[in-house]
């Protein structure tokens, strides 16, 4: 079958790609754009390792056909840090709180919690747990991850108040 054309924006940059009609958003991000920070875990929408923001909402990029992302605004882990290359407060907090072990789930965890922190300044622990309920981690036991997201929320709020 002929390739299809997909025009979309990833991390603020416009892209035009041609891909197989059955290609997933995940395949295009990793194999065609070289954005390998987004991981493939289960491939069936259960582990959340491939989470990206699509028009501001978290989605499993293994569950989206590339053609369905036409015109969309996609944010991946490569796009969350500042333009000066400085780490995002969530990335810093994951390091500071020891929330990374093997690191495979980390990009997905950060994208899932970023959607929460984009809309909620002072999330409760329940809201944090709910936000990452579609992301599996097999190393940390989640406590450090929840700690990291709480820490990032506090740091972001403090920074906001300073400005």
């Amino acid at each position: 079958m002929e390739d299809i054309a997909v025009d979309f924006r990833v991390n603020g940059k416009e892209y035009h790609v041609n891909c197989a009609p059955s290609a997933r958003l995940l395949d295009v991000l990793r194999d065609q754009l070289g954005l390998t920070g987004t991981k493939e875990g289960c491939g069936i929408g259960e582990c959340g390792a491939c989470t990206v923001l699509m028009n501001g909402k978290k989605v499993n990029s293994c569950m989206v056909l590339a053609g369905q992302a036409r015109g969309a605004d996609i944010l991946t882990i490569e796009g969350v840090n500042g333009s000066d290359g400085e780490l995002h407060p969530l990335q810093k907090a994951f390091i500071d709180a020891g929330a990374i072990q093997c690191g495979f789930c980390t990009p997905g965890m950060i994208m899932s919690s970023l959607e929460l922190l984009n809309t909620t300044l002072e999330p409760s622990d329940e809201e944090i747990k709910q936000a990452i309920s579609g992301n599996l981690c097999r190393c940390t036991g989640y406590k450090q991850i929840v700690d990291a997201i709480r820490l990032a929320a506090r740091n972001m709020l403090a920074a906001k108040r300073r400005h």
């Binding site: 009609p21 059955s22 290609a23 069936i44 569950m63 056909l65 579609g134």
Partner: protein, 289 residues
């Protein structure tokens, strides 16, 4: 990778024209949360070789009240339904059912129309919609028809969609003051888990506590999600007390075995159905928190 065609449409009419042209050779894809698993395994459902993307068609996504009906576009996501004050107010339970689907990521993509058309026995919105007396609206280039959701599943994993048809809306009469409702999903863990069983109840009692109306649906108890008419009828005209609730639970388990036979899972499901039917009826009658 699957050899398939990907078709895009700008609006509902274009989708209907494509469905008319391709017939059973094309399937609409919305959130894709079920279809993508098949694609990964190298197959499209029912011998289709084309997918028509309906995920970017705004006119399929809405929640609105019209007269005494609540109308929900088939392309409305679970996240949108779970967050809707209108759905909470007019249904009491559909937002619970939608909020219990999969994970936040799945709820951001998966749609109510997809949940119904896929016809999985464990679909979370289906028992809730059954006790809301919902209708499924289907459209094609030839016209429009409505099917009560209780008649929409001719068999396991089968839904009453003819070639060329698109499910465009789900509608149900608003739940008015005086009604109570309950939804409960039995799962192995709190997120990203398929329901082992799910229960939905809508009930109406008069000022003296006499049950005037009772609707009970259970998912994954029978080959298709179903209402439990024998249980509903035995409760009408009675007052809900502990003895009656227990009887209702026993009657529900008996109905499950009568209609579905004894299966490997019956040892487990029978006592669970007994207990959870009692509990959800009690909640709908405001006898238990």
């Amino acid at each position: 990778m699957v050899d398939m065609e990907f078709l895009a449409a700008k609006n509902k009419n274009e989708v209907l024209s494509l469905l008319d042209k391709y017939g059973s050779k094309a399937r609409p894809v919305a959130g894709g949360t079920d279809l993508m698993i098949g694609i990964r395994e190298g197959r499209l459902p029912g011998g289709a070789h084309a997918l028509i993307d309906i995920s970017r068609i705004p006119e399929l996504s809405y929640i609105k009240k019209e007269g005494t009906w609540l109308r929900i576009g088939a392309g409305t996501t679970h996240a949108q339904i779970a967050a809707s004050e209108l759905v909470l107010h007019e249904s009491l339970i559909l937002q619970d059912a939608s909020a219990s689907v999969g994970s936040p990521q799945i709820r951001n993509r998966g749609t109510i129309g997809g949940n119904i058309v896929t016809a999985a026995q464990c679909a979370d919105t289906v028992p809730a919609l059954m006790v809301l007396d919902a209708c499924v609206v289907l459209e094609s280039v030839a016209g429009r028809r409505e099917v009560p959701i209780v008649d929409f599943f001719p068999g396991p994993k089968k839904s009453d969609v003819h070639p060329g048809e698109l499910v465009t809306e789900i509608r149900f009469p608003s739940i008015v003051d005086g009604y109570g409702a309950s939804f409960e999903k039995l799962i192995r863990r709190k997120a990203v888990a398929k329901s082992r069983l799910n229960f939905a109840v809508v009930a109406l009692q008069d000022a003296s506590g006499m049950i005037q109306e009772m609707r009970l649906a259970i998912g994954s108890a029978l080959p298709t999600t179903s209402r439990f008419p024998t249980v509903e009828q035995m409760l009408i005209g009675k007052r809900g007390d502990e003895g009656l609730l227990k009887e209702a639970g026993l009657a529900a388990a008996a109905y499950m075995i009568e209609k579905g036979g004894i299966r490997w899972s019956t040892d487990y499901k029978k006592p669970v159905v007994e207990k959870l039917v009692s509990r959800n009826i009690a909640r709908a009658l405001a006898l238990e928190e």
